[in-house]
């Protein structure tokens, strides 16, 4: 399962990308390429996988999802709005003085956000603790954590991988948003992760690989969880940074953008619509 698998974005995926561009138009900044990379993954998680109650965000038996690559938060915020955690108008105030939402997700400030992330390598250790608590308490809730491929440069990811394996946390699922690009350029050039699936296997994980923009495939991978009775799970989601607008795709310039003129945003929205007409 690789990037070459053709994917046709459905209406919701197109609409969510359009909304992110509209947010960028108003707020002036955001990690657009990163958000476009993980949209389908987080959408399926909230639509079809996670057990939660938006009216009771602290429900003790809820499944937990941590966006460890916190810079992709626009993709998460959209799902939280759709699920009823907070009002859509909050999206358009992101990072304003006094706003609830910021450029990275914050625990305790944003309903539905399970951990404050932004500095890389923090979400997985916290997720391991949550999953371990479930084991101690013999609870059924599951823990999901989405990490970036650039984030896999961090040593703490691999420290946690060792621990998750030791404790046989089959209630933990790591999703790697493997878009092959980090801030400066290609992961292969900066800090090569390959063979990534073998690395996770050697750390004691049960591994699946999936096209991270193919709704049916992602759903199917989640539905097969847990992959093993005694191993933590990892889904390596092959994605495309900036997916959905060809000139943004795999283009490090769009990892984070600020001060993009409104007419430029409008042009991108037109391209998005025309490329998926």
């Amino acid at each position: 399962m690789t990037n070459s698998t053709p994917v046709v974005l459905d209406k919701l995926s197109i609409q969510q990308r359009k909304t992110i561009l509209e947010i960028l138009k108003i707020t002036g900044r955001g990690h657009i390429g990163s958000a476009f990379s993980l949209l389908e993954i987080v959408r399926i998680l909230y639509d079809d996988v996670l057990s939660f109650n938006a009216k009771e965000p602290q429900w003790p038996d809820r499944d937990r999802f941590i966006l460890s690559k916190g810079h992709g938060c626009l993709g998460l915020y959209l799902q939280l709005v759709r699920q009823g955690y907070f009002a859509e108008k909050e999206l358009y105030k992101t990072s304003e003085q006094g706003a609830m939402l910021g450029g990275h997700p914050e625990y305790g400030r944003v309903p539905g956000v399970e951990a404050s992330t932004g500095s890389l390598g923090h979400g997985l250790p916290i997720a391991v603790g949550i999953a371990l608590a479930a084991k101690i308490d013999q609870k059924k809730y599951r823990t999901f954590v989405l990490v970036g491929d650039g984030e896999c440069n961090e040593g703490s990811i691999w420290e946690s991988a060792l621990a998750a394996s030791k404790h046989r946390l089959n209630n933990l699922t790591v999703i790697v948003d493997y878009n092959k690009f980090q801030c400066y350029g290609a992961t292969a050039d900066i800090c090569n992760l390959e063979p990534l699936a073998d690395k996770w296997r050697s750390f004691g994980f049960a591994v699946e690989e999936v096209n991270g923009h193919d709704i049916a495939s992602i759903r199917s991978s989640f539905n097969r969880l847990p992959y093993s009775s005694d191993k933590p799970n990892v889904i390596i989601a092959h994605t495309v940074k900036g997916f959905g607008i060809s000139e943004l795709e795999s283009n490090p310039a769009w990892h984070h953008k600020s001060r993009v003129p409104a007419d430029e945003i409008q042009r991108l929205i037109r391209i998005l619509e025309s490329e998926h007409a």
Partner: protein, 309 residues
């Protein structure tokens, strides 16, 4: 002190099933009783401090009260961002117990010397810092940690430390203990340096200088009103700490003096380690002596201050 502290963790675990213990890779046999009786709450997890602070935060988010112990340097500066962001920003009740605070590991060199731990822990919002004077004070401190809803750093001394705490003293987080009242000069200590202060004060008494001794078992938060009330009874203070001159007890007292005109003018001498890496091996005592964190130098500094009118 470490033995007492960990035994108290065991006792807390007996009374409260939320208590879990986490070690990185500490001495064989540590808390064997805990491990035997509560194996599902005992974790020896390997040399992975960054991960462990995050894991503890996750456990705490789910209602656990994790106590972790390893060498102080490795759970303060090694994983500082995890302590700041995971424990501090999320404001979760994890308990970090640092062995060998100060100069305890002087024989092992600068990699193991925890002499800036207070400075860096202090800069973390929500963090609470304890540096008890002895094992008896530790016994009072530990029960107070159980239901305290914020992250805590506990700085352990070497062990076998002279007991100066009195059975009559209660333990309240942030509340200084006024061990000895004086009138000329006030020694303020933390951890084992409060004992040095008491010995120095006794010598000064014989020399006709009346020295008071105030002990800060909590370096953050501090009941500043209480501290100011005691400080206002004096015109000169000597701080004693087993810590860098930057950011520790002396700095805290300097800031308080500077910010409170009611206690000015106030003379201040700070006995602390210089702003440099350890240059010589030795014992805890010889290292402190060389830096002037000693009874003799405390007496000398007090006399200098008093003779300068």
């Amino acid at each position: 002190m470490r033995k007492t502290c960990l035994n108290e963790v065991y006792k807390l675990a007996q009374q409260d099933e939320r208590v879990v213990f986490i070690g990185s890779d500490i001495g064989q046999g540590t808390l064997d009783n805990f491990k035997t009786e509560y194996p599902e709450r005992f974790f020896m997890e390997g040399v992975s401090e960054a991960h462990l602070i995050g894991m503890m935060t996750g456990l705490a988010m789910c209602g656990k009260i994790p106590y972790m112990n390893t060498i102080a340097t490795f759970i303060t500066r090694r994983c500082y961002e995890q302590v700041l962001l995971d424990a501090g920003l999320h404001n979760q009740p994890i308990r970090i117990i640092g062995s060998g605070g100060g100069c305890v590991y002087a024989p092992l060199g600068p990699t193991h010397l925890a002499v800036e731990d207070i400075a860096i822990m202090r800069a973390i919002p929500n963090m609470t810092i304890f540096a008890p004077s002895d094992a008896e004070e530790m016994k009072k401190l530990m029960p107070a940690t159980l239901d305290y809803d914020r992250p805590i750093y506990i700085r352990l001394a070497k062990g076998g430390d002279t007991v100066i705490s009195r059975s009559s003293d209660s333990f309240e987080i942030g509340e200084p203990i006024y061990y000895k009242q004086g009138s000329d000069i006030l020694f303020i200590g933390t951890g084992i340096t409060s004992n040095i202060a008491l010995e120095a004060a006794a010598i000064l008494d014989e020399a006709g200088i009346s020295a008071g001794v105030l002990h800060l078992h909590t370096l953050k938060p501090i009941n500043q009103a209480s501290l100011l009330e005691t400080m206002s009874q004096y015109k000169a203070i000597v701080t004693l700490e087993e810590h860098s001159i930057i950011g520790g007890l002396g700095a805290i007292i300097s800031e308080i003096i500077a910010e409170n005109i009611s206690i000015q003018p106030m003379k201040l001498a700070k006995l602390a380690l210089p702003d440099q890496f350890q240059e010589e091996y030795g014992s805890q005592n010889t290292t402190m002596d060389a830096a002037g964190i000693s009874v003799a130098n405390a007496v000398a500094q007090a006399k200098i201050i008093m003779s300068n009118g």
